[in-house]
Structure formats: C-alpha cells, structure tokens
C-alpha cells in the first residue's frame, strides 16, 4: 500500500497516523517522521515551497515503491506540502509499516534521504532581509551513498 500526496493544504499528522495504522494488516511496527518549517536566521516570515507538478508525484511514488519492495513494507505514506508555510508548520511526513521495527526505521530514513535530493521541491525563505533560495547541501547528496 503506497499512499503519496502532494498538496498545498495542511494535514494532521496524528490523524494520518491513526488512519494509516487502521488500514494495516499484520504489521508490528509503524515509524513516522514529520518535517517542520525551521527558522535558522531568526528573521524568516514564511517559507515558499515550489515543486514540479507531475514529476513530483511520479518521483515520490517511485521512491516509496522502492522502499516498499526493499524492506517488504506493509504500507508507506508520503505527504509533502507546497506553497507558503509559516515557521513551525508541518512541511511533510512519511510513515512506514513493517513486521518489525528495524525495517520500518530503515525504510523511513531511506525515504527521507531520497526525497531530500531526488524529489523536485525547492525551498525559498522569505524574511525581513529579503528572499533567499535554500541551497542543497553536499551532505544530502552524500547521504544517498549508504543505500
């Protein structure tokens, strides 16, 4: 079960976890990760997230299906928002379910590493000092090597 959603609207991580868990069959472990808008400069008023409609959904589905196969997951959810978000808001979440926790944890880390640098999203920070695109980090690319 792969459930990928790209949306502008906010979501409730708790409700998503409940609904995901209720749909599972014979899973012993669920791991979730939520990403929040962080303000490193202390001056950010909002974060703008741009994406590539069509490719985004396809890229996320491909990554989620790969995780499902590789760790024999009972289910995967990926939700990623776009548009204007304020500090502290949820940007995205992943949930993975497996028979045992090791697979669920690993699959969640794999999903996060891949969607950071392989899903077509771009973040821009808007603040008192102006707008700035968030640059990709070399460490994000290097994180893919372990998979």
């Amino acid at each position: 079960m792969v459930d990928v959603r790209v949306q502008e609207a906010a979501f409730q991580a708790g409700a998503e976890l409940e609904a995901f868990s209720a749909r599972l069959q014979n899973a012993g472990a669920v791991v979730t990760f939520s990403g929040l808008v962080r303000d490193d400069s202390g001056q950010m008023t909002e974060m703008l997230i741009e994406h590539y409609p069509g490719m985004t959904e396809a890229a996320l589905t491909k990554i989620a299906e790969e995780a499902e196969d590789r760790w024999s997951l009972a289910g995967v959810v990926v939700i990623h928002r776009h548009g204007a978000l304020r500090v502290g808001e949820q940007i995205m979440m992943v949930a993975t379910a497996a028979r045992h926790r090791g697979h669920a944890f690993e699959a969640a880390e794999f999903l996060m590493d891949y969607l950071k640098s392989r899903a077509p999203f771009w973040k821009k920070e808007r603040g008192a000092a102006g707008d700035a695109w968030v640059a990709a980090k070399d460490a994000d690319e290097a994180a893919l090597d372990r998979w």
């Binding site: 490719m55 890229a59 940007i91 392989r118 771009w122 973040k123 640059a135 990709a136 690319e141």
Partner: protein
C-alpha cells in the same frame, strides 16, 4: 516543438516558468547552447551548468541526453525537499 520548464532561481533569472521552443537540437546540451545565444537572461541562468539539474520527460537526466521524441525538458537547481 518542445516544452521547456524552469524552476526556482532558474525560473526567476529567465523570467518565465515555461515556454515552447522550436528546436533541432540533438541533445539537452545543444538546446542550452541555443538558449544561451538568444539573450543575456538565458546566459545568466545557464552560466554554471554544474549548479543545474535537468529532467527529460519528467525523469531526472543529464545534459548529454538526446532530444529525439522528447516532449518536455526542465531545468532547475539541486532539489531541496524534505
């Protein structure tokens, strides 16, 4: 005709998100050379190709990719999801 899409600061430098281009370019790199020759704003956007990524028909690809039969090419900076 190929749809050419631009995202993030590439879109801002070129000044539009999408355009249709009539081209005989054989590869993505050839298309970039044609665009750079057009106007300064393209030259500014494509000044450093190592800072850019390319998708061909919505799949990550590279500048050597052939364009025969391709409908859509997109240029953007490295992605920052998550």
């Amino acid at each position: 005709m190929i749809d050419v899409l631009y995202f993030a600061w590439v879109r801002e430098r070129i000044g539009l998100p999408k355009e249709q281009i009539e081209t005989q370019a054989a590869t993505v790199a050839d298309l970039v050379t044609e665009l750079i020759a057009r106007e300064d704003r393209y030259a500014a956007a494509f000044a450093d190709l190592t800072a850019l990524r390319v998708a061909v028909d919505q799949e990550l690809s590279d500048f050597t990719a052939p364009l025969a039969g391709v409908r859509e090419v997109a240029f953007f900076p490295p992605m920052t999801g998550g």
